[in-house]
Amino acid sequence: MTVLSVDERVVMHKRMLLVRLLEEELGTLHKAGKTRGPIHRCDGQEAVGIGATAALLPSDFITTTHRGHAHYIGKGLDIYGVFAEIMGKADGCCGGRAGHMLIGDLEAGVIGGNAIVGASIPAASGIALSAQIKKTSDVSMCFFGDGAAQTGICHESMNIAGLWKLPVVFVLEHNQYGLTVHQSVQSPVADLSLRARGYAMPGVIVDGNDVAAVYQAAVEAVARARKGDGPTMIEAKTYRVEGFSTSDMGGYQDAEEIARWKKRDPLQISYDALLPLIGAPALQAMADDAAREMASVTQKVLAAPLPEFELFTPSSPYVEVL
């Protein structure tokens, strides 16, 4: 098992702090009527995305879902560009065209959020295939949910990845719910990684609220992929504490269950692990820095202009009448 350095822990803790602040800010803006469309917060799940992406090189790739904020930030996207995109601003990393569910940045290796449930899975396999054809040592990492695990493309993609030993890491972010539907109403098995055997790949269960545990599992899986030994499925058990999206009317998640998971807040777990290593004042300083950064980013995002429409003339144009 890889031993984490203090620096690595600190970096991940900082990223988690930022993501949490972003999520909370989005919640506030939503309540104030300043957002548009449902936004999928990942409060409580930050450790999965931050821990797993920390195992990647900048040249590696990720694909993610409608709930990708932690993955975007973990893979190195600038928080201003992401936040501005979520707010539909001209400064957004996709000019406001894509929105929170479809952020992509080829340079950064982010081949997209994806709002078609399951679609992040073949997307990652396709990138891995490309790496295999080109004989690079790039790895592609796929985030997907327990709901997505029931889609047909999940099966097809894992079978192909196992068959061709593609350099891909499948990170199942098991937060117990599809949209409003509990996992027990989506699948007769609670531990979905037991399906990995059917694709001749290792399936590992990891505490998704412990960033260090996620990181360690990801480091192993990434190494395996990079060596050419093929894919791994990591099932990270976690929980969605703020509901499906900002337009979620709630009522289907058990209050006690939420309370139980809130006690296992990934930020708290990370804090507790760092406390003996760097002490409370350093942790406080990190929290203050993050809050300051977020405040300034927020101000800038809110002040940024909305985009102006330009007619799209793609390579296969047929836009004649608007």
């Binding site: 469309g37 406001g96 065209r97 078609i116 997505a148 889609t151 539907v181 989506q186 429409f309 009448v321």
Partner: protein, 324 residues
Amino acid sequence: MTMMRYAEALNQALREEMHRDPSVFLFGEDIARYGGVFKVTRGLMDEFGASRVRDTPISEQTLAAMAVTAAMTGTRPVLEIMYADFVPLVLDALINQAAIYEYLWQGVQMPFVLRTQGGGGAGAGAQHSKALDSLVAHIPGIKVVAPVTPADAKGLLKAAIRDSQPVVMLEHKLLYNQRAEVPDDLDFTVEIGKARTVVEGRDVSIFATSRMVLESQKAAELLARDGISAEVIDLRTLRPLDLPAIKASIAKTHNAVVVNEGWRFCGYAAELSATIMDHAFHELDSPVARVTLPDMPVPYSEPLETAVLPNAEKIAAAARLTLS
């Protein structure tokens, strides 16, 4: 008559038909415990139980295929597909399965309804804002309806459930909160295949579908200010088309605008234009104008999305063009 929202009218239709016929059942993602993301199925699981109102895994392709054979073996499934953007996932079940059996195995009944909702205007982005009407309307043997008013929503859904063959119902996310009077009669249905004249006019016919009917109505008001009398026809059923209604209107106005929120190329508006070419060419004083989404993804940010969606101004401009 009772005043209610479009979503409530659909809910009432489902409830009434489930009471009437025990073989009717509902399934789809998040429709049971939560009552559906647009709340169309609210309360029905409590009323009819978890066997007849089922939450499903995220498996559109399989759910649609299951509806086909469940319908062939004695039940009347009503499947909700959360967004019309997911129609590609159910298309094999429609094109390669549902479309063929009535012909191949003559005598077969396939009474299922696939409800979905499409269209833009809610900031849902490129994968949750499309109207893919032409994909489903292309399929023989499948009826396609797209109600605009709460009364039509109720009446067409009841007719669809009672139909002996597959019906796809295209709803629109921006229509669910529309309120209007809805008949209470338990046997109220709206005949599939019949258009509805929304505004009578003399100078130009505007044939529209789904939410675009509301924009066309506004366009008629804009045109009226210029002294142009536009007739607005809500097609209501996209397939089979109400040809007599289309022909009669054009015989009166001699000019036509067709409006559909889907893409232009090979879109549903193309069929309307071609149908008019086939059946009313000699009545036309001007070419039929198509008003559609431009051929590009629906953008996320509000000013961008607003710029691409067809609206009253664009429809009125197209109508003026036909008369110029």
